[in-house]
Every structure is written in structure tokens, then in C-alpha cells.
Symmetry: C2
């Protein structure tokens, strides 16, 4: 029998419990052992649970689980970076394998966890931390990172914001209405900042790009801009251009070990795969020197897909089918100068005054970056020629006094 | 040092040689051993090679490789089902691990190879046999098949025919011209039957559905219809419907262990992911009870992606990171009655005679399956209501005397 200690009985934790329970006979046959969740950490022992569980295995004392010598595998599903950090490090120090779905803690303490796991000869697996049911971590570790120079990783990595953008495009909701709908469905937190400002995506991008580049990529080095400034007029105009806005994290690395990581709203066109990834779905794309571009799509969040990823990791721990990070993570990659990246942008400046529109038009014409004007009635909005982000930023500063709402977004090639 | 025997030095074989050579230092660091291709089987020792290789390691005698006790891993890259079968079984009997890219032999002898590998405690890995650089086999084995009831697997699994259809849709070529273009680029064989009649896709579908269902699914039980009957008028009409034709293999399994496997041209609409998978790219979709739908896209063929999959398998053999098929494959699944599957169809009947068009129209109206007529000038073509394939076939028989060209294709929901 393999005993497992489960930390947390929220969405992911209860999903893990259910899958292991449902599949117990099959898993026993597959593994040659019975898998048994013998203790579960909860905050409150007495509240009603949505999962059918024997209350005698619940505890509110983490050390009772971490000190239990019969427990060989710890599943961390409490979230956050404080207690989760303490429990993961304590478990690894005690020689227990750890499986987690917690991107925040993995992103923040990646190197420490990997080194601690290696030192104590344990597995530290975190498939569920990025893109829910999509097996992107294994894919990167087992198939791509070993044999390819990876030049680009990008993705729609957050289900909540993809749902919000889908509602804005397909159902005509404005940002506030779409956010409210996401909150009512339980997709978005009461404080949605981490999602809508791109912090959640940036964390996942850090994890993926750290593995891909074998360099520790820090959260602070990922640039971010959020989706809160998008207005209905943008949706109208962008629809007329046969594009959609997607909230995308992307990481580019060149041969000189210089990288550029960014999370931003991006316009994708109708024939892009990303255009068709809607609702709470996710997609991840990786470009490798041998495999070319590989893309994985699926449900990026939700109880069952995320729990499936956790239980897959548990199976792989028990069968010994996982990679130890035998290589050392480097610390020598540098953030590149963004002036190297030239793109087309959608640029919108709202104003109610025709005089201001004319002034803006002249200013932007002087900047010589207009490729195509898409609106000069309700706003002054245009598509730029290929240009660097810094030029766009300068233009925005030049005209800010004539507009009560400037927003711009990169257009995917 | 780990010695490898490579059987075949064609496209895949030379790609494998090149990747191992290019990455030799990194692989040595990763694995703790040097990997060395010590012998290579070729048909002709004396022809010029496109790969920079020491001729002293070439041999035209397979047994010289298979009998070599220092060789622990055999890579089979000769193709076909005769010699390949002999070499694979011989290698496994001698306790050597086998990695292959050969879908024909894997499809035909799946059960025998798996059992022989198990008996001799060897790995038998075949990631490269399906969808080239897309890691679908590992994905199925490690993440999905263990924890999910899989109700559907489908995919664009053949790069050659997807290239042909792309040329017909995007470049206005007719079938013969598109085939010729594929042959000139080396995508299509001189005899393209296996590709254009769907045999190649059916083989890959057998491999995937066998793993997914844990039942041996035989090639003869996969229904097939090819893409050779598509004419320019179809392309015109289907474009006007905002659809494209894709050549898709799909496998459905219900809870009673009844399945339906088919390879056929299918109309997919503009907002489908499949619509955007063009040229020689592939896509595979899997529906699992926990993970929902997961889709993987990438280059389905080609030297480097396929060789990458082979070398990944080699690494996984050496690191011991692979699944043995510990479960027994069942043999109790039954082909279901296709009358259970009701779909919309595109139906086209060519005729030059307006009287014949009217007769066909009346016949089909009697059949009461028309949802929308799309052409009654140059042909009589229409979209059906949801109906079973057998009804469509009956209609085709009823009107065959009045048309000199009938073709129909399922429309994806």
C-alpha cells in the first residue's frame, strides 16, 4: 500500500480524492499497490464537505501528516506561497515525494525545491501548476527540452481571462459585465487582479521558460500589461479587422541567451489557432529546433482536468517514470533590449472632440507609424507599421493630453 | 557507453544519426553515458550518403547487428512489415530494447511485439510511428489512458494528404495537380494509394485506439473512404459554405465497449481548430472523462520531427522512463452499428443535363433528407439533415443512373 498525505480539500484536493477513489481498483492493478489517501489537511474540521470522505482522516495539523513515516507522497493543494512553501520544504527534507498544483509557490521557489528534491532523492512534480489538464511540463521535459534549442514558448495560459475576453467578443459584454459573469461562475476571484493584470500567466510563463531555457527566469523580469482597459469600441473595431484579442504570455530566447518575456493582450487573426481557443480553454505553443512548432490545447483549469494532472504525477512517482532535473539551472540569461522586437500594433485613442482627433492624427502622422486608419469618428484608431514598443509608448505620451483613453496592443504576425 | 544499432539510413535513420551526433555532449551529460551508434544496416554499402558517417560502421547484414551483444538498443527505421517484423522480433527475443518509427509494422503486430517485449523485459517504444513530432503516444500512455474513459480519438494524421487538400483549397489546384506537387516535394510516394485511400491514417488510428481502449483494434475494422473523388466544384461549393475538407481518422467508443473507427474526408467549419491545420501539419484530439478534450498540433512528418521522437524514445529507454504495458490488451470490443451515428452530409451529384438534375432533385426530395440545396446548376448538391450513412448510401444508389459523379462527405458538428 502507498500512503498519500493530501494537503487541502478545496477544488483540486477534492478532485484528487475523487479520481483516486473512483479508479482505485484500476490503479491497484496498474501499480501493483493499493493507493490510499490516509490523511487530509483542512483548515476547518467541521464544515460541510462536497466530497464523500471519512472525517477521521481529516486533520488541521500539517505536522501530523508531514511527520507520518508511512506517508511517502505529499500532494500540496492549499495554494499560496507561505504555508505551502513550509510544507513542501518540510516534506522534501523528510524524503517524501511532493506533487503540487500550486504555480505561485513553484514559480517563486523553483530552484530551491528542485535542489532540495535532488538532495533528498525525491520527486518534485508540478504538472498541474501550468495549464491544468494539458501535459505541457512532461512534454517539455521528456520530448523537447533535451533535444531542441527552444526559441519561443507562448500561450493562452489563464482560463478566467480567456473566458472574459470570449464573453466580450461573442456576447457583447463590456469588461465589467464579463468579469462579473466569470465571478458568478466561480472562474474569477473576488479580487481578480492576479488574473486580469497577467500575474498568473507570468508565473506559468516563468515555470515553462525556466524549464525550456534551463535558466532561472524570474517573475520580475516578465513584462506585463493587463486587459482592463479594453472597451466595447475596441471590440467593434477589432472584429471589423477579423481579429480577436487574446491574453497571451510569450517568451523568446535568442542564441546569445538573451530573452524577452511578456504577458499582454494580443490581436490574433481569424486563421490563427489561437482565434479558435475560447471560453476557459488554454493553448501552449513551443518552437524547437528539431520538432518545429508543437501546440497543445485543452481545458486549462477546472477540478477534473487539474486533478487528473495531479494523479498522473502520483502514478509517475510510484512507477518511477519522471525526470529528475539532473542538469543545473543556469543563472546567466539576460533580458534583451525590446527595441529588437518590431511588431504591428493596434492603437486606439478615444476622444469626443473632432479637433482633438485632428491634432492626434497630425501628431501620429509626424511619427510616421500609421499603416491603416480604422476609425476617425468615435476615436482615432489605427494599425501601425512594424515598429518597436518604445516608439508606440512615445507616441502615447505625445498625444495623451488630447485623448481620454489610449490603449494599444500588439498584432500577432 | 550505450551502443545502439540503427536499422536503415533513409530519412528517419539519417535524422536519428544527426541528432545523436549533434547533441552528443549534452546527451552524455544528461544520461551519464556516451551514446554511440555502433552499427548501421543499409541495403547498399556503396551508394553516396546524405549524412556524414564513417563507412566502417555500415553493414548490409542485419544479423551482424542483432547478434552484437554490446548493442543494447535497436532502432528500426527501414519501414515495411516483412524484414522489419523479423528484425524487431529477433531483437526483442535477444533482450534488446526496440525503438521504431514504423506504423505499418506496429499496427500489424502490436500485440505480439508488446507481449514479446514484456516477456523479455525490454522496452518497445514507437512514439515516432504516429504523428511524427507530436508526442501523442506518451501523452496517451502517461496522462490520459490510465485515468480516463476515452470516448473519442480523432485527427489529421497524414501530412501528405493534408498538403494535397491545402493546395486544392488555397491554391486552386485540382486533385491530380496537388498530388503531383506533393510528389515533387517528396511528400507523396510514386504510388500514393496508402496515403490517399486512408490506409496510412487507418494504421495510426489503430495504434492510438488500441492504446486508448486497451483493446486490440484491427486495421480491417476501420472503415475507409479516400480523397481522390473530390473535384474543383466541391471546393467552390464548400468554400462558399465557409468549410474546408479535411481527411480525418476518428474512433468512437461507447460504454458498452462498442466502437466505430473510420477514415474519411470531413467538412470542418471555419471556427474549428482543424480548419487552421494546413500544409503537412497534423492534429490529434482525445476526449477523456476527466481531462475533457485535449488536442495536440504539430509537424506530423519530416526528418527532424520524426527523428526527434525516435531519439526521445531512446533517452527514455536509457533513463528507464517509459511505460511497460502491464495490462493485458482485451479482445472483446465490437464494431458498433453505424446507424447509431447520425450526421449532416454534403452530397454532390454531377450531371450536365437539367432533366437529370430535376429527376435527382425529386428522388432526393422523396428521401426527405435535404436541409439546404447549395447548387442546382452545374450539379445537384445539397446539405442533408442529420441522417445515418446507410440512408445516404441508399440515395446514392437510387440516383446513380442520372449522374456521372456522386460524392458525399460528413460534416463535422
Amino acid at each position: 500500500m502507498i500512503e498519500i498525505g493530501l494537503l487541502g480539500l478545496g477544488t483540486v484536493g477534492s478532485g484528487v480524492y475523487e479520481i483516486i477513489h473512483q479508479r482505485r481498483n484500476y490503479l491497484q492493478e496498474l501499480l501493483g499497490y493499493k493507493i490510499h489517501i490516509s490523511k487530509v489537511l483542512v483548515k476547518n474540521l467541521y464544515i460541510k464537505r462536497n466530497v464523500d470522505i471519512n472525517r477521521s482522516i481529516l486533520t488541521d495539523n500539517a505536522m501530523e501528516i508531514l511527520r507520518d513515516k508511512d506517508i511517502k507522497i505529499i500532494v500540496e493543494a492549499i495554494g499560496g506561497t507561505t504555508d505551502a512553501y513550509d510544507y513542501i520544504t518540510e516534506a522534501l527534507r523528510r524524503g517524501k515525494h511532493v506533487v503540487t498544483a500550486n504555480k505561485a509557490v513553484v514559480c517563486k521557489y523553483f530552484k530551491e525545491f528542485i535542489e532540495l528534491a535532488k538532495k533528498n532523492n525525491c520527486a518534485f512534480l508540478f504538472e498541474a501548476s501550468v495549464a491544468g489538464g494539458i501535459p505541457i511540463i512532461k512534454e517539455l521535459m521528456q520530448n523537447i527540452s533535451q533535444l531542441n534549442d527552444i526559441s519561443n514558448i507562448k500561450g493562452i495560459l489563464n482560463g478566467t481571462t480567456n473566458y472574459i475576453l470570449t464573453k466580450m467578443f461573442d456576447n457583447g459584454l463590456n469588461y465589467e459585465e464579463a468579469l462579473k459573469s466569470a465571478q458568478e461562475l466561480g472562474f474569477a476571484e473576488e479580487d481578480p487582479t492576479d488574473d486580469v493584470e497577467g500575474v498568473d500567466i507570468a508565473r506559468k510563463l516563468c515555470i515553462l521558460s525556466t524549464i525550456a531555457s534551463k535558466n532561472i527566469i524570474l517573475l520580475k523580469n516578465i513584462k506585463r500589461s493587463g486587459i482592463t482597459k479594453i472597451i466595447p469600441r475596441d471590440i467593434e473595431l477589432i472584429k471589423s479587422l477579423e481579429h480577436k484579442i487574446k491574453f497571451i504570455g510569450s517568451f523568446n530566447m535568442n542564441r546569445n541567451n538573451q530573452y524577452y518575456g511578456v504577458v499582454e493582450p494580443v490581436l490574433v487573426k481569424k486563421d490563427s489557432i489561437y482565434y479558435g481557443v475560447n471560453e476557459a480553454n488554454n493553448v501552449v505553443s513551443i518552437k524547437g529546433s528539431n520538432v518545429g512548432e508543437i501546440q497543445l490545447l485543452g481545458q486549462g483549469a477546472g477540478k477534473k482536468p487539474t486533478a487528473n494532472a495531479v494523479v498522473s504525477d502520483i502514478i509517475n512517482v510510484i512507477k518511477g517514470i519522471y525526470y529528475n532535473y539532473d542538469f543545473d539551472f543556469e543563472d546567466n540569461a539576460k533580458v534583451t533590449n525590446i527595441d529588437f522586437y518590431k511588431n504591428k500594433y493596434y492603437f486606439r485613442a478615444i476622444t469626443n472632440d473632432i479637433n482633438d482627433i485632428n491634432i492626434i492624427k497630425e501628431q501620429v502622422k509626424i511619427g510616421n507609424i500609421i499603416d491603416k486608419i480604422v476609425d476617425e469618428k468615435k476615436s482615432f484608431s489605427f494599425i501601425t507599421k512594424r515598429t518597436s514598443l518604445n516608439v508606440i509608448k512615445d507616441i502615447a505620451i505625445d498625444i495623451q493630453n488630447y485623448s481620454n483613453g489610449i490603449w494599444y496592443a500588439r498584432i500577432e504576425k
